[in-house]
């Protein structure tokens, strides 16, 4: 049984201009000890779906789901009090900007200790010992002295390590990393990714990595879920996805990578992601798609697993000729 099983999750935000659907019938499943990557551009609902799982969305959000199961328990049906026991302990999350997710008024040691006190009920001495262990685990040199440091005294990479230490404090079964390295330099990014993957292996955690960087996906993920405008448009194991993308969006996105470019011109995707007021009927990618057919504007159907669960009426069957055609859609 999957560790995390979310079915038909939708999130609507109440805005001045009516309801805005940020996440649209998304299914997410994650096994124990697996690295799942959710990839998509801004506005694809990748962060919002995870925040909905964590219960971190503001009151303007309406969350509906057929099923939101974690470790056999239905998160959607339990009380907030019960849910808080799981959130932060069995499921924990790290965010994009470590400096703004840590409280600037308290020391690093206090903030890690808070988790230990709340979820594990440790006393002061054990907390201190465990905090030092955790900081050591995430590769912070001289952890004893770092406990009394404030976030502004540490660099971005160090702060992200502290965030990871906090997230690991309750020995989570699932770690959600929301763009953990976007705000960091490449050499530091390499260190943090390496750390996350080694911790994931060591502890056999499930890791959900939310990112927009195809390079990070290729190097870390095992299974990839591509999102576009709030919908899950494709899902495949990482090797297959890069080799043979089935959804035209995935294919065009991969073709737009500068490192895959052949000539001086990049094959770009025309247009922009649809917003609240220009949401098309039928397939949401249709206005930008180079394989669009008349029936795409009416409705769209989900393809079977062999075609990467692609949400597309005319998926790309093999990678050969059609991918290059998608490349010509500049």
């Amino acid at each position: 049984m999957a560790l995390l099983n979310i079915q038909n999750l939708s999130v609507d935000f109440k805005t001045a201009g009516g309801l805005f659907r940020a996440v649209d019938s998304v299914d997410i499943a994650c096994e124990r000890g697996e690295i799942l990557s959710i990839v998509g551009e801004s506005g694809s609902g990748k962060s919002v779906s995870m925040l909905a799982l964590m219960g971190l969305l503001p009151w303007t959000a309406q969350i509906t789901a057929d099923k939101m199961e974690f470790d056999g328990k239905d998160l959607g049906r339990m009380s907030r009090r019960e849910r808080r026991k799981i959130i932060g302990k069995d499921i924990s999350m790290i965010f994009q900007e470590p400096i703004s997710s840590l409280n600037p008024c308290f020391t690093v040691g206090f903030q890690i200790g808070e988790v230990l006190k709340l979820h594990l009920g440790m006393d002061r001495a054990t907390r201190r010992k465990r905090s030092i262990e955790l900081l050591d685990l995430v590769g912070i040199p001289a952890p004893e002295t770092r406990l009394s440091a404030f976030p502004h005294q540490l660099s971005g990479g160090m702060n992200q390590r502290v965030m990871i230490a906090m997230a690991l404090a309750g020995d989570p079964k699932l770690l959600i990393a929301d763009e953990p390295t976007t705000a960091l330099d490449v050499t530091i990014q390499a260190q943090i990714l390496e750390l996350l993957v080694s911790l994931q292996r060591e502890k056999q955690m499930a890791l959900i990595l939310i990112t927009h960087d195809m390079g990070v996906v290729a190097e870390t993920a095992e299974r990839v879920q591509v999102q576009y405008a709030g919908q899950r448009v494709e899902e495949q194991p990482v090797l297959d996805l890069f080799e043979a993308p089935h959804h035209p969006y995935t294919s065009a996105l991969l073709a737009a990578l500068p490192e895959r470019a052949v000539g001086r011109k990049l094959p770009s995707i025309p247009g922009v992601v649809p917003g609240q007021f220009d949401r098309p009927t039928g397939c949401l990618f249709a206005p930008r798609c180079s394989f669009v057919k008349p029936d795409c504007h009416k409705g769209v159907k989900r393809q079977p697993a062999e075609l990467g669960h692609a949400l597309c009426n005319h998926p790309i069957a093999s990678s050969g000729s059609k991918t290059s055609a998608a490349g010509g859609a500049a």
């Binding site: 050499t187 390499a190 990070v216 290729a218 993920a221």
Partner: protein, 317 residues
Amino acid sequence: MSKPVVFGQNLSRYYEVSGGVFKKPGLVKALDGASFTLEPGKTLAVVGESGCGKSTLARLVSMIEPPSGGTLEIDGKPAVVGSVEHRKTVQIVFQNPFGSLNPRHKVGTILEEPLRLNTDMDAQARRKRAEETMERVGLRLEHYERYPHMFSGGQRQRIAIARALMLNPRVLVLDEPVSALDLSIQAQVLNLLADLQDELGLAYMFISHDLSVVKHIANEVMVMYLGKVVEAGKTTDLFEKPRHPYTAALLSATPKADPAKKSHRIMLTGELPSPLNPPKGCAFNPRCAYATEECRRSAPKLEAVGVTQVACFHPLG
């Protein structure tokens, strides 16, 4: 080889920072001796991590602030801060199009401002020029009356590029122009930049931390570390055979979008040292795997090694 438009030699910029009431003020060498030339139709990329001085270099070349040392020449004449001549030749596009456009001005006003300040064109001529430029960068004419908040990130970056083009410059300094944009939009903007360069013969100074973008767009690359140039050369040479250990580490740390090719990563330990208190000798020595006594004692100079220029006592390969 065509005649360079911009020629910089030993450019440096130091900032004095106060250390508190009783401490003596420190000196941050944000940029320390960078030399380069910009040629028409060519792109020089400047890469490095945060704090390496690449944005400071951008500010010097566009003369937002004067260098503390070295010479900067435009068409063989020394550059002066605030000269209209310089502004007409060199323009800059900033990273964040959400911050660099005035939210209270309409697109038309934003685009015409450089003309109003630096030329004596009348309103009609200004409007005509603005509309021409909008068309050139792929904005529609009805956008003239709109405000920046009505545009997406990619569109805003187009507005910023259009504004930079208003004075018909010959050099564009692009300070991380696509880092804030999504992948599909990034490709659109990079294509636009390539088109503009072909049409107008612009020289680009392209500042970026994304090596895959740099590899795609640049003719020449300059790698910086802690205010110093550590390696410079042609893009193909440098990417194929990096000589400086830092360049090699930077290249291997960049994630490649190919899961079949699991590359061997050179892991750099530690982080960028504080520019207030840089290490003695070569600035990279505390993180370098090849560092020797010599590296800790004295700083290497940028010298030609093979086809590229490298500042290292023990260049690779």
